[in-house]
């Protein structure tokens, strides 16, 4: 199996798509594609979680989604990293 059928969505579920991706894709590839295709706000940082398995992804890893246990039908959600904007260190 060289491709996976996945559901990818934003946290508000305003954007949702059934996609076919190579098993060799990384989590970061998926997030980057979603940001570009859905024109998500560029000033926000995002994480990716696997809603089906209940695990988060390491976006700095080059590991393939295939090796991370992602399977056909899994739902992946792009969530914003939440922070307000004043420095108080």
């Amino acid at each position: 199996m060289s491709e996976l059928y996945l559901v990818i969505r934003t946290a508000d579920q305003a954007r949702k798509a059934e996609i076919k991706v190579p098993v060799t894709s990384s989590a970061a590839d998926i997030v980057q594609a979603a940001i570009q295709n859905w024109q998500l706000p560029g000033d926000t940082d995002y994480t990716l979680v696997n809603i089906t398995t209940g695990f988060s992804f390491d976006l700095s890893s080059q590991s393939t989604i295939g090796s991370l246990g992602v399977q056909d039908g899994h739902i992946l959600e792009i969530q914003p990293v939440l922070v307000a904007g004043r420095v108080c260190l």
Binding site: D12, D45, Y46, T47, V83, A84, R86
Partner: protein, 375 residues
């Protein structure tokens, strides 16, 4: 035993351990919108000891989201007012506060007396610094984040599971790029950088406060969440998700700060010779890492003018790169946080301000020598 009258309704919950809560020591960093909700809930449920850190002053726009502040409090310190109000809510609590910044308010020795640090901060740098110091002290870290719609709570149980995922394991690489945008030369604040203000409401801050305290309480419940977890809540659709946070194998923070350290108090800073007395190591084989970046000097690339600085970089901005003689931003700034022992010995006595701690490895032992400008 705690007062049965005050906690009567709690005592009706079979898994609720009031005595355990009474014995918990919590640090809340940030007494803004989320901090207010967390503090209010800590006091209501009867957490024993609460320390509040915030140097900021109450402004009128805080009043739409801050249950502990009144209009008459505008202009007063957030942590001072919050401490007074939660004592009114529950006089059983032991409450202390600091009106200094995070780095001046907290140290590793002090942290070890606490059970959990709750981050109600509003920026990445302070969260990263807190995460690192929690990794060293091996103390639980709860991080809260909100915007106008979403709530995110992450729990890192570093005390019981020191090898679990840490805050830096869980954040995407884009955050480091964002932090770098705010600094020139690696660590000088850009004076012209405009901070983005994130809109928030009492809805998201109160949900964050409630979920955070629920995480503290649920340790007593048989169905409680285990390990490093993230709860994400959408206050519009009311959907939520819970995921286990995955440890990053090459996380630099886990590798650097997650080890076992021998903590030594030192004064004056730099006098590490007692530790070296019995060492067979060549002292210059020892690399010393400072907790804070240090500016040693600046030199103009045009006129060659040299200026000694010997101070912590966090106190400077990019105006330091301006040469008054050449009237250009032509100064190169020497910033470093790694020194040989001899280098550090030479500079440490000239430093205007001391790093919070220094760390180094001697034989098989990782040392942290803590000094610096903290309470």
């Amino acid at each position: 035993m705690v007062s049965l009258d005050r906690y009567l309704r709690h005592s009706l919950i079979d898994w609720f351990d009031q005595d355990r809560l009474r014995g918990i020591n919590v640090i809340v960093v940030g007494a803004g919108a989320v901090g207010n909700e967390v503090l209010k809930n800590l006091a209501l449920v009867g957490v024993g000891t609460i320390h509040i850190v915030d140097f900021d002053i109450i402004e009128v726009h805080n009043l739409t989201r801050s249950i502990l502040f009144r209009e008459s409090d505008v202009g007063r310190f957030k942590s001072e007012v919050a401490a007074a109000r939660i004592l009114e809510i529950n006089p059983d609590c032991v409450v202390t506060y600091s009106i200094k910044g995070l780095w001046e308010s907290i140290n590793i020795k002090m942290l070890k007396k606490f059970d959990v640090v709750i981050s109600c901060l509003d920026n990445y740098e302070a969260r990263i610094a807190l995460n690192q110091i929690c990794l060293i002290a091996k103390i639980d870290f709860i991080n809260l984040g909100i915007d106008s719609r979403y709530v995110s709570i992450e729990r890192y149980p570093l005390r019981l599971e020191p090898d679990c995922c840490c805050y830096e394991c869980a954040i995407p690489p884009s955050i480091y790029r964002k932090i770098n945008e705010r600094y020139s030369c690696g660590w000088l604040k850009k004076i012209a950088f405009a901070e983005k203000k994130i809109p928030t409401t009492a809805v998201t801050s109160s949900v964050a406060g409630a979920l955070c305290i629920s995480l503290l309480l649920q340790c007593d419940h048989p169905d409680c969440l285990r390990g490093a977890v993230k709860i994400f809540f959408d206050t519009i659709t009311m959907r939520s998700s819970v995921v286990k946070l995955t440890k990053k194998n090459d996380c630099m923070s886990c590798l650097e700060y997650g080890r076992d350290f021998t903590l030594v108090e030192y004064s004056p800073v730099g006098d590490i010779s007692p530790i070296l007395t019995h060492s067979k190591n060549n002292v210059d084989d020892i690399m010393i890492q400072t907790s804070d970046k240090i500016i040693t000097d600046t030199i103009c690339r045009i006129c060659g003018q040299l200026k000694e600085v010997y101070d912590l970089a966090s106190y400077y901005d990019d105006s330091l790169t301006f040469c008054g003689k050449c009237m250009k931003s032509s100064m190169s700034v020497q910033i470093q946080d790694m020194f040989t022992f001899t280098e550090y010995e030479l500079i440490s006595f000239r430093l205007k301000r001391l790093p919070k701690y220094i760390k180094f490895k001697l034989g098989e032992v990782n040392y942290i020598l803590e000094g610096g400008n903290h309470e």
